[in-house]
């Protein structure tokens, strides 16, 4: 590896750690108050209450494990794929809720995010999605290069 690729590798690792850290933080906050998170999911009026409660227990742990996968680089692509899917579904649900005129709090980062407005939610989610897609693209293109050699 030359210096440039070393620096690039280091920068990508920073992105891994930041994105992974964001999901660990978001998951940990929700683990502490699953009832509030169940209410936040229920506010979208998409799922029955029982499923909202089940997801309120499950999703935060899934976020934490996937965030850890990005940081420690074990089960990396699996974690990346799950997080990308979660953010994409969440974005779609947020936009759908807005179109349906629902005034929702996303609950993504607990109380920190409760006063965020819709454009702020959207901007942060799109930024996270862009980072996840960039990391995925890097893995896929890296594998293609290896296959080609």
């Amino acid at each position: 590896m030359n210096d440039t690729s070393n620096i690039l590798h280091f920068l990508w690792r920073i992105v891994d750690v930041i994105v992974g850290g964001i999901f660990i933080y978001a998951g940990a906050i929700k683990v502490l108050d699953p009832v509030q998170f169940a209410n936040d999911i229920d506010n979208y009026k998409i799922l029955p209450w029982t499923i909202s409660v089940g997801l309120a227990f499950y999703l935060p742990w899934l976020e934490i494990f996937c965030g850890l996968a990005l940081i420690v680089r074990r089960l990396y692509f699996g974690g990346l794929s799950i997080l990308t899917a979660l953010v994409a579904v969440f974005l779609a649900a947020t936009i759908a809720a807005k179109i349906r005129g629902l005034d929702i709090t996303c609950g993504c980062f607990g109380h920190v995010s409760q006063n965020w407005n819709f454009p702020a939610h959207l901007a942060i989610d799109l930024a996270i999605l862009a980072a996840l897609l960039a990391l995925s693209f890097r893995v896929v293109s890296g594998n293609r290069l290896q296959d080609a050699v």
Partner: protein, 141 residues
Amino acid sequence: MKSSLVRQALVLAALAFVPTLVQAIYFGDKVSWRSPVPASEMVTVTHVRAWGENAIWVDARPDNEFARDHVPGALPLNEDRWSELLPQFLAAWSPEKKVVVYCSSEGCNASREVAHRLRKEAQLANVFVLEGGWEEWLKEK
């Protein structure tokens, strides 16, 4: 690569189940799987009538709906003007009173949210949600 991706995703999904189960058991009595509000925190109109003067009605609907009509003696407290209306509500509240929050109907969420915030942010006990909301009150009137 695809099979490895699926395998990794399944491993992570399975790993997350372990603490989920532990937590669900731990929180078992703190959350109801049937209704967003535990049965012990839901009340009917008949129930509240029996409390008489010991109940404070809280209207969690938007201002225009409150202005159109409301339960006699109810205080407005909605999330749009929470910080403005909360002090007015607290001035009328006393510890021995039971707080009954309602919104427009069975399907609305505002009463649950307001009740939740009263318990959490204002640290009030004895906060209840009216089953069926304003619609039910009209029927029982």
